[in-house]
Symmetry: C2
Subunit: 144 residues, 2 copies
């Protein structure tokens, strides 16, 4: 190995791959979230937030609105339900569906947490200047 740079034949650099950096950025964000809002996971908060906005939704519809798999949203709703934050009842019009809605306590918690949640976006973007943040969000949106 005469050279400084190893990387045998391929020259593949893990650190330069989007996926790897994306994953580390998310790790940092999740850690910020957990520190700011220990009451709920980011996923649970997203589901509760969307539900408070929609007032009411079927389980799968809520999953689509929050970019969650049917199997994933089920677990999330279950945990929110056990904690008394959302309520579930059969849909009269369509017997396949269950209608999910936030409870009064769920709304209260969301209202209390929303300011903190908005702050988390700022904290996550803290390493960037204001114009950089807008640029970053615009580009990220294109990738999502």
């Amino acid at each position: 190995m005469p050279q400084d740079s190893l990387a045998p034949t391929t020259g593949y650099r893990l650190e330069e791959q989007v996926g790897f950096v994306l994953r580390r950025a998310q790790q940092r964000h999740l850690s910020i979230f957990a520190a700011s809002i220990p009451e709920l996971t980011p996923t649970q908060f997203a589901a509760l937030a969307k539900l408070c906005e929609l007032e009411q939704a079927s389980q799968n519809a809520l999953g689509r609105a929050t970019a969650m798999d049917a199997a994933t949203i089920k677990g999330v709703i279950d945990r929110l339900r056990v904690r008394g934050l959302v309520e579930v009842r059969p849909d009269a019009a369509d017997q396949r569906r269950v209608a999910v809605a936030p409870t009064a306590e769920g709304r209260r918690l969301f209202d209390a947490l929303a300011p903190r949640a908005r702050r988390i976006t700022d904290d996550t973007l803290a390493p960037l200047t204001a114009p950089e943040r807008h640029m970053f969000l615009a580009l990220l949106e294109k990738l999502a």
Copy 2:
């Protein structure tokens, strides 16, 4: 509700939060990865790639190099070991450590997959122009 825009008192918009967009971007990336490299998960590939670069590492050291928890890297190594892609032996100098190294087959697979892996970064960034990609990667790096 006289207005079009609901969002009761808070005006919280899930779609504008970094965490949510970040998560969707990652989802898209993971789906591209799985389509391009069905043989391994992104995490497994990252571990194998780093191991091929380092030639050899302790389990925890490899975890740090790939931004994985000790508990996480254990499972990843286990699965790679079962598939004959990496090898594990006790470290003579430090009896706590296990030395992990890629097998010949692990190296072969990595060499075969590396070009595809590099392409995944391009595919993920496809919605962006060349200058946008550099800008995005630079900003993302700051957040990671």
